[in-house]
C-alpha cells in the first residue's frame, strides 16, 4: 500500500508555527519572571530568622546575572535594586531562574541554625511549579493527576 502526502501552503504553516513557538517562549519567560518575583517577595517575608541588620534579606537576589557573595550589609544593599529585578538565564529551550541569598553566612542560618532562608520558599512554590509545568506537557499531566488522586485517596 502506498500513501502520498502533500503539505499544502507549507511556508505559511511553518511561519505560523514559528510565531507560535516564539509566543510560547515569551510566555515561559514572562511566567518565570513573575514566579521569581513572587518567590523573592515570599522569601523576604517568610524567612523566620532574626535579621538584626537586615543584611540577609537585602542580599536576596533573583537576578541570574548578579549572583554574588557579600561580607557586609553595605555591599548587599548596594546591589539591592539589581537583585530585585528578575533576570532569567535562557539557554536553547532551558529557562533557569535563580533565588540566591548572598550574605556569606546564609548557609549557616539555614543549615546550622535551622531557620528558613530560601529552602522554605522553594518548597512552598514547588506545587505551583509542578502544576504549571505539567499542565504544559500533557504526557506528564497524567502522572500529576495520578499523584493527586493517590494523595486524595489517602
Amino acid at each position: 500500500m502506498e500513501v502520498d502526502a502533500q503539505l499544502v501552503n507549507a511556508e505559511a504553516v511553518i511561519s505560523g508555527m514559528e510565531w507560535l513557538t516564539k509566543a510560547q517562549a515569551n510566555q515561559v519567560k514572562e511566567f518565570m519572571e513573575w514566579l521569581m518575583t513572587e518567590m523573592y517577595e515570599h522569601a523576604r517575608s517568610a524567612g523566620n530568622y532574626q535579621d538584626v541588620t537586615g543584611a540577609l534579606r537585602d542580599s536576596l537576589s533573583i537576578n541570574a546575572d548578579n549572583v554574588k557573595v557579600y561580607s557586609t550589609a553595605a555591599e548587599a544593599r548596594s546591589q539591592l535594586q539589581r537583585n530585585q529585578k528578575p533576570v532569567i538565564r535562557i539557554e536553547r529551550d532551558e529557562y533557569t531562574g535563580v533565588l540566591w541569598a548572598g550574605m556569606w553566612y546564609a548557609f549557616l542560618v539555614e543549615l546550622k541554625a535551622g531557620f528558613t532562608v530560601i529552602t522554605g520558599t522553594v518548597d512552598h512554590f514547588n506545587n505551583l511549579i509542578e502544576g504549571f509545568m505539567m499542565d504544559k506537557l500533557d504526557a506528564n499531566k497524567l502522572a500529576y493527576e495520578g499523584i493527586k488522586s493517590y494523595k486524595d485517596s489517602m
Partner: protein, 141 residues
C-alpha cells in the same frame, strides 16, 4: 503531624544503622533539632526541617529535611573529609528512596537531593560539618 515523630523516625534509623555505628561509635550521637546538647562529642548528627508545608484541604505535608554530620578536624586543623564523606554516604544510603515508618502516616516519598560539605563555622573552629538535604512527602494514613 507531630514533628517530633518525624524527627524521631530519622534519629532511630541512624542509631540502628550498623555502618554509621562503626564509623561514628555506638550509641550514635544523633539529635532532634538543629542544636546539639552541651558537652556533645563528635561525630554527632542533627536532624531538622526549616519548613514543612501543609497542603490546604489535604492531610499531605511536604518539605525539606536537613541531616547534618559534624566531625572534628585533624590535629593540623583541616577537615576530616575521609570520615565526613563516609558518614554522608551512609546517611544517603540509609534514607534515599527508603521511606520512614511513622505510625498513622504514609511517607510515600523520601529522596536525597543534595550533599554539601565540608562546611565551616568560625564559631565552632575545631570541626567541620556536612549536610544531607532530603525531600519528603507524607500523608495521614
Amino acid at each position: 503531624m507531630n514533628l517530633d515523630d518525624l524527627y524521631s523516625a530519622f534519629v532511630v534509623r541512624m542509631m540502628k544503622n550498623e555502618n554509621i555505628q562503626s564509623l561514628a561509635g555506638d550509641p550514635v550521637n544523633a539529635y532532634k533539632g538543629s542544636s546539639r546538647p552541651n558537652g556533645y562529642t563528635n561525630p554527632s548528627f542533627t536532624v531538622h526541617s526549616p519548613d514543612l508545608i501543609v497542603e490546604p484541604d489535604t492531610t499531605a505535608a511536604n518539605g525539606t529535611i536537613f541531616i547534618n554530620a559534624y566531625v572534628d578536624n585533624f590535629k593540623s586543623g583541616n577537615a576530616n573529609t575521609e570520615l565526613l564523606g563516609d558518614l554522608l554516604k551512609e546517611i544517603k544510603d540509609e534514607f534515599n528512596d527508603r521511606p520512614l515508618e511513622i505510625n498513622g502516616y504514609n511517607n510515600f516519598n523520601l529522596a536525597v537531593t543534595n550533599l554539601r560539605g565540608p562546611l565551616y563555622d568560625s564559631s565552632d573552629p575545631d570541626e567541620h560539618f556536612g549536610s544531607v538535604m532530603l525531600n519528603i512527602n507524607i500523608v495521614k494514613s
